[in-house]
Amino acid sequence: MASKKDEKIEYVKNGKRLDGRKVDELRPLKIEVGVLDNADGSAYLEWGQNKVIAGVFGPKEALPKHTQDPYKARVKFIYRMACFSVPDRKNPRPARREIEISKVCSEALERAVFIERFPNSSIDVFVEILDSNAGSRAAALTAASVALADAGIPMRDLVASTGVGKAGGEIILDLNKAEEDAPDAVDIPIAIMPRTEEIVLLQMDGLMTKAEWKKAKELGIKGCKQVYEVQREALRKKYEAAEKPEAKKNPEAEKPKAEEKKTAAKKSEKVSK
């Protein structure tokens, strides 16, 4: 809805973008794992101005009963923006945009999680956007995938996501808000499982040629892989910290691992039948 700026802006000048980044450079990305005490897994992520918190619960019995699938778990992904996370205050009721993003991110994560190991279960992923500036869905999905790993949910691979697109005729990685407001802007949220490069989320808005898309695709996959490194590093740090017990926030609160939970879930199913 934002008004497009004067068309004469050069979005890339001498190889540098308006914020000084190179065309294939991500905004600063920082991930912290295991930040919430009650959630089974969690992550806090800062990506440029975006600030995102993700928490995971499950696998647990899917409720209401009619949502259960006897062959697999569902991944329930809920993406929400804090009212103050956008320039104009967001209405607290979930917007259609939030519902659509939740749906496509659920589907992306279901590809990565071994959902077939948890029949009749739900794996609930909640992400709250605390601050935003273009690319919040990539930030949400990236954080969620780390939180799933933190919860011990078995996965084929992490899901790594980024935005890629076009501004001022240039194909660039990880657009910020100013670039997204370019008159010819194209925004492509993409997510892959980096080991196989399988694309699990892909959306696009704007006018672009096939040639531009091919360039953007390469750049997007490359960007996801950079994101992947940050995700892995964050998880590595958490595990290292876990080996030094004094670093633990709340040593008493031992969380059951997902695999154990699965057995528990099965037992409770028997009882409830």
């Binding site: 809805m1 496509v104 492509i188 892959i192 499982m193 694309i199 892909l202 696009m204 040629t209 096939k210």
Partner: protein, 260 residues
């Protein structure tokens, strides 16, 4: 027999044939079902169309409503797209507020139109900062036999192509009089593909959707632009599969565009 079991069997058949590059209805993998477009199905709408895509059937209608512009684009009108999955279209659809499926359909059709820039939103401005047109496109699914994305995309575009702009006097609409037609500069067509096994099916039927592991929709224009993408369902695509979809989309959209 249980409804779900029936669909499982149908999906099995789809999967079995897919291995031989075949489809249940004997279409080629990149072939669309028969498309029937009936325009002006509602006089109260400023533009409307009924679209049958095989056994899938949808309607779309446009109402032009006077409104105020967004503060950050005072000289632009806008569009608003809604979809309802009518319960008469399928035993799976229910009365109630729109489900995520309906919201996704509406938003993907919206982006296909909006991002193609076929409408110049400045044309929809009546008086800067005060009065603009809001072009409401409301779509209803009457029968679901798969690929609602493309059926709705065609219906929305067909309805827009017929849309008359009401005459305005003293900031009020003069009922029954019109000041011309809505100007569209492009005809963006949404093309949707189902991944079944490792095959890509254009225009999937409902049974094929039950068998698909992933879905990809792409909106293309006659001047060779990509306007929108949407990947769905819990499976993935390789980069080259996406490119194949795009190639097929450019080809099939040309055929569909002729029928508008």
């Amino acid at each position: 027999m249980n409804e779900n079991v029936l669909w499982d069997l149908k999906a099995d058949k789809v999967n079995g044939l897919a291995k031989q590059d075949k489809r249940v209805d004997q279409r080629a993998l990149d072939e669309y079902r028969k498309i029937e477009i009936t325009k002006n199905i509602s006089e109260n709408a400023e533009g409307s169309a009924n679209v049958k895509l095989g056994l899938s059937e949808v309607v779309a209608g446009v109402k032009m409503i006077l409104g105020e512009p967004y503060p950050d684009s005072p000289n632009k009108g806008t569009i608003s797209v809604g979809t309802e999955l009518l319960p008469l279209a399928s035993e799976d659809f229910e009365v109630g507020p729109p489900r995520p499926e309906a919201i996704e359909l509406a938003r993907v059709v919206d982006r296909g139109i909006r991002e193609s820039k076929t409408l110049d939103f400045k044309d929809l401005c009546i008086r800067e900062g005060e009065k603009v047109w809001i072009c409401f496109i409301d779509m209803y699914v009457l029968n679901n036999d798969g690929n609602l994305f493309d059926a709705l995309g065609i219906a929305a575009l067909s309805a827009l192509l017929e849309t008359k702009i009401p005459k305005v006097e003293d900031d009020k609409i003069v009922k029954g009089e019109y000041a011309g037609k809505l100007k569209l500069s492009r005809k963006p067509i949404l093309s949707t593909f189902a991944k079944v096994g490792n095959k890509l099916f254009a225009d999937p039927t409902l049974a094929e959707e039950k068998a698909q592991t992933a879905r990809f929709s792409v909106s293309t224009s006659e001047d060779d632009y990509l306007c929108a993408f949407q990947k769905g369902v819990s499976g993935g695509f390789s980069g080259s599969e996406i490119d194949s979809c795009i190639e097929m989309a450019f080809k099939s959209s040309k055929e569909i565009r002729k029928q508008l």
